[in-house]
Structure formats: C-alpha cells, structure tokens
Symmetry: C2
Subunit: 420 residues, 2 copies
Amino acid sequence: MAPPLSIEALFLTLAAVWLAAGLLGALAARLGIPAVIGELAAGILLGPTLLGWVTPAPTLTALAEIGVVLLLFEVGMDTDLSRLRRSGAQSVAVALAGFVLPFALGFVGAYWLFDLSLATSLFVGGALTATSIGITVRVFKDLGRDGSPEAQVVLGAAVLDDVLGVITLAVLAQFASTGQLSAAGVGRIVFFVLAFVLLAPLAAKLAAGLISGLARRHEAPALLLILVVSAVLAFSALAHAMGAPVILGGFAAGLALGRGFRIDIPPGLRLPFGATLRRLLAADPGFSQAVETHTRPLVHLFAPVFFVLVGVSLDLRSVAWTDPKVASLLATLVVLALAGKWASGFVLRLPRRQQHAIGLAMVPRGEVGLIFVQLGATQGLLDTTVSAALLATVAITTLLPPFALQVLYRLKAPRAMGAE
Amino acid sequence: MAPPLSIEALFLTLAAVWLAAGLLGALAARLGIPAVIGELAAGILLGPTLLGWVTPAPTLTALAEIGVVLLLFEVGMDTDLSRLRRSGAQSVAVALAGFVLPFALGFVGAYWLFDLSLATSLFVGGALTATSIGITVRVFKDLGRDGSPEAQVVLGAAVLDDVLGVITLAVLAQFASTGQLSAAGVGRIVFFVLAFVLLAPLAAKLAAGLISGLARRHEAPALLLILVVSAVLAFSALAHAMGAPVILGGFAAGLALGRGFRIDIPPGLRLPFGATLRRLLAADPGFSQAVETHTRPLVHLFAPVFFVLVGVSLDLRSVAWTDPKVASLLATLVVLALAGKWASGFVLRLPRRQQHAIGLAMVPRGEVGLIFVQLGATQGLLDTTVSAALLATVAITTLLPPFALQVLYRLKAPRAMGAE
C-alpha cells in the first residue's frame, strides 16, 4: 500500500480522479455506454497503465470503500422484496438458473480448461453470477419496456441474484482469508451471513425508525443524513466483525430503509413496547424518499472513486495481451458469461422472444461483478492476467445487452411483445 | 499524528463521530444554541478529554479538511458582493471597526496583559476578528428582522470581515511556518493572496461556465457535483501552492459560483472568443442554485467532521482551569471580544438601539474563529491553555448574541425599529 499523501497532494489527486471520472463517465453515457465503463477507463488512464499519477494511498482507498458501501446501500434501497413475491416462481427459477449456470460454467472453465487454482476458479465463477439491477432497470427503461412482464421477471431475478451474489462473495472472502473451504466453514459463514441478512434489516429498520423520529422532531435534513450514514458505516463494520464483507452491511441497511420494506407483527402477538415497535417497523415511504434524496449526491460522488480505483489497481501494461492464453481466457470467459445468463431465460415456458429478452437482460454484471474482481485481486487470488480478463468480461457483458436488446425489440417490433 | 486506521476501525470511528455530532448538534439546536457548539462538544466527548475513542488519524484529518474547504465554499457561495455595494460606506465602516478593534484589543491583551509571545498574540487577535455570516444571518432570520436596515449593514460588514479574516489567516499562517513577520513578507503574502482573491474567482467562474455547459448538455446532476467538487479541491490545492491556506481556495471558488457573481466585459472591448467569454462570465442563477442543492448534503456531512476534530484536538483535561491565569485569560478575552465587536456598531450615526443591534450582531465568531484556533494549535503557536481559552471565547461570543438580540428587540418592541 502506498504511503499517506499530504493534504495538498490528496486534494490534487482527488480533483484529478473526479475530473477524469466525470468527463469519461459523461463521454461513455454520450456514446450510450454505462457511465461506469468511463470511470474504469479513468482509473486505467490515471493509474500505472498509462499516466501513473494515482496510486491507491490509504485515504483514497478509504474513500473508495465508503463509496462502494454507499453504492451497495443504494442497491439495497432499490431492492424491492415485494417485487420478488409478485413475479414469484418465475423469478426464482430464472435467478437460480442465472446464478448456478454462470458459476458452474465459469468455475469449470477456469479450473479444467485453464488449470487455475481452486480459489481463483471459485472467484471467477462468483464474478460471473452477479446481475446488475441498476443496469437492467436502465436498459428496460431506455427501451420503454419497464412495464412488460419480462421486465418484472428479470427484476425479481436480479434482486435474488444480488442476495445470492453477496452471500457467495462472503463465502469466497472468508475462503480467501483462511485458504480453505470446509463444509463446516461454509455452513458457519452461511449461518452468520444469513443471521446478519435476517437480523440486520430488523436492527436497521429499528434504527431507521429512531432516526426518522429524531429528524422529524428536529426538522433537520442534515441530522437525517448524518445519522443514516453513521448507521450504514456501523452496519458495515458489524458485517465485517461477523465475517461478512463490509458491503453486506451497506446492502442490509439499504434493504431495511427501502420504500417497500416493512415488518408486520401479527396483531395477536403481545410484546413489550408493542405499539412503539409496530410503529418503528412499519413502512415509511416518506422517510425512504428523504433518505434517497439526501444520500444520492454522496453515492454520485464516492462510488466513482471506487470504480476509478478498480481501474487504477489494474496494471494493463503488465498483461501479455498477445499471449494466446490471455486471449483464449478472455474469449472463453465472455462466451461462458453470456451463455450462462442467456440460458437462464429458457428455463421458463414462454414465447421464444421473451426467453431471449429475459436471458439477455440478465447478462449485465455491473458493479457487483467488479467488486468480486477487486476483492479477488486485493486478496492475491487473481493475478493481473485473470483480473484483466475478468474485468474485460464484466465490461463486455455489461456493454453488450443494451445493444442486443435494442436489436431484439426492433426485430420483433411488428408482433407486439407483452403488455405495456 | 496517529497511524492509519483499518477500514473497520475507520468505519466505526466515523460512525461514532457522525452519531455524536448529529445527536449533540440536534440537542444544541433544541436548546436554541448553534448546532456547531454541539459538534464541538461531540469532539470533546469522543476525544482525549473524556472517552479517548477518537484520535486525529490521517484519513479523519483528510475528511475534516475536505469538510472545512466545502464549508468555506458554501460561505463563499452565500457571500453576495452586490450586498456590500448596496449597504456601502456604512458596512465598510462597521467592518473595518469590527476588524481592527477586536484584533488590536486581543493582541494588546494577550501581548501586554498576559505576556504571550508575538506570534501567539497575533493569532489571538486574529481569532477575534471573524464575524460568522451564517450565524448573523440565522439570528436576524430567527428574530424576523432579516429585512431591517441594520441587518443590511451587518451582512455587508460580515462579508468584508470574512475576506479580511481570510487574508489575516493567510498572513498569520505564513508567519507561523516561517517564524517572522517582515514588511516584505507581509507584502508578498498580501500580493499573492490578493492575486489569488482577484484571479481565482475569474478562473473559477470560467470553470463554472464550462461545468455548467457540460452538465446541461449531458443532463447529468452527478456530473455537475463531481466536477464542482473537483474544481473546489483543485483551487484549494492551488491556494496552498500560492502560500495561502487551502480554505481560501474553497472560499474563492464559492464566491465565483455564488448567485450574484458575474463579470461584465465592457461592450466596447474586443477580445478573442469575446462572445464565449461573455457567456461564461455572466451570472447563472440556475446553475448556482443547482450547485447549492447538490453540494449542501456534502457540507452537512463533512463540516461536522471538522468541528468534531477541533473538539478532539483539545485536551481540556490537561488545562488547569482553576489556575487563576487561565481563568483571567478567558475572562479578559471574552470581555475584549465582546467590546471590540460591540463598539463597531457605534461608528455609525444611528439611533442608539440600532447601534446596539449592529454591534451585537457582529459578535458571533463561529467557524472562522475556530479555524484560527485550529491552525494556531496545529502550528504549535497556541498551547492547550490559550487554545482552550480562545475556544471558550469563540463559544461564548457565538452563544450570547442570539439571546442578547432577542432581549434588545423585546425591550424596544414598543418603538418600532426600522423598516421591515
């Protein structure tokens, strides 16, 4: 890790990080590409690959960690559990297929075809499982299809994939730090993570109720923001203490503070402070809305620091691109990543074009895939070659679906697809 | 300086800092006291004085510096140069009296009455010069007097005092680092600071024009925020490179991005790219409004980190409060700080009660006074005793005026004061 920067150097570095992320992100958006690709490119530009101006100094890394925790907090807030209930069994089937197939294909490909180690192969499989809710939402919205039945199915499946992906990340993170993967170990991790996943939203919901009451009594938007961010960081530290990655804390806090989240206590059940508890655990859409409004600028500002640092931490100059092994790894991973997710659309009995639409919409990996790559790289499990191939895979699978879906819907335009 | 924290420890520390700042700030506001007093108390609670949980680790210090730069950016945005022109000569007279009197009284008191060193005495004088625009604005607004003529005069004077205070801070900061105060040295500092003060807003205004154009073309609020923060940090680093404190960069950028700021190029003047320059330098209230909306949550979140760290850096346990010298220093400074500002209301020929109102409204030192204390302490010029006495003076002079003005206006209620 690089030494701490002086305040002046830190300010200049941060100014460069934000300027490059802002301009290249905007350029990407201009070209119809997700802005995150531009932010990664900014990191590659500023890092050792090209200019060599930015190194991952402690304060920058800390700001990036705050950024990714806040990003997962936002993903959690956008995750609507009731959506999963509505689209029901179809979403579950697509989610499981969209999780198992890419994981299995990625693992088998890395382990048997490329002779990578067990740990590395597991990370490769894990990195291919995620589905970016943000990007799928944007894709359907951009195409004017966000009310269609296939969009409902995909959204439910993406939600579930996110939870599965985060649990997988927790298991792999533990494995990475201890070096083993025993059944008891996995069981303990799954137990702790499930305990955290089940209890943290309850605790976060209680915290949210208290914060909401305080902020309302004092009519202080600053107080709301400060207390929410404080809670998010506290839950992230708690997640870490329970053996899960810090981001799970942000995700759980976001889940609990999201608009649709409420915990109903059965009317017959008598509890101490029952009325207060019922009030604290009820849905509070106004509060969720206020939290989203106030935290959004923070996510906008700090999430790019994370993506830029992902780019910085990749020294693409040291990758032997012309090495046939690298090229074949990249080609193989892209094919497996596409095939695994695309196939998940075909587990449902639906018209062929809807199967294609669902499968293609599941393909974007987005930020969760990148978090796998980043964690694997910092744990020393993914060397520069594998990191670069995975990053390129994430980039390609994130880039492709918007174009592919656009073409699909144009091809099928004469025969109207689903209700809108 | 403390060693870097692990991510988990940093998250817990930040969570504690924000929780304490939020709760004690809200409690202060509840009691009718400026929230900043609560945030300082949070630092005293978490720091070595009481709990000893928080030390000024590098990343915390960096976040605090970002916070104070953003705070001065907001102060700059709130600074309306045209207001100064309207209230005119009256404001200038009050500002000069409100700058010179407290500085002279503080310096003389510290140097001759308490035998403090030249450097320390200059810092003591400097710390007493500031007038908190934010607090004076709030005081008049809370009392329903923000349209009164005395409010106009005070606002203009507070603006000018801010600029004078920042220049004084720059001179003293240079003095603190070199240990001398030669006429040539002061001249050079004033030249550089004036050059920065005159040129930075022009440059920042040009940058703002570019950012505004980019953000409008891409309809991306995230881009606006990222580029503005990037510019603020770049100007702060530039200020530091020119020998001025980093906060001056934030202030200059804020001034340039404020609603009332525009630079008119005379119609007769022919310049290369004249039309583009004229467009970039015109006032852009919509853009200023958008910048304020997007940066406010950041200021809300990071400025308290600065104030908490001010509290943390004060070890009040090590102060000999019962020492007659400490008690007498505190009492003397409070009297001088009050007298110097209060007297500034009497340089104008106005009804007696308006003179009192103006003088009292000039008293609150607020954040700029604290920045003097913090800088003096980190430069080793203010020992714990003087820091504590100054901090208490800033706290008392910040606390008193809201109550005093309330009493004054109640007493005088029967005879209506000024237009409203």
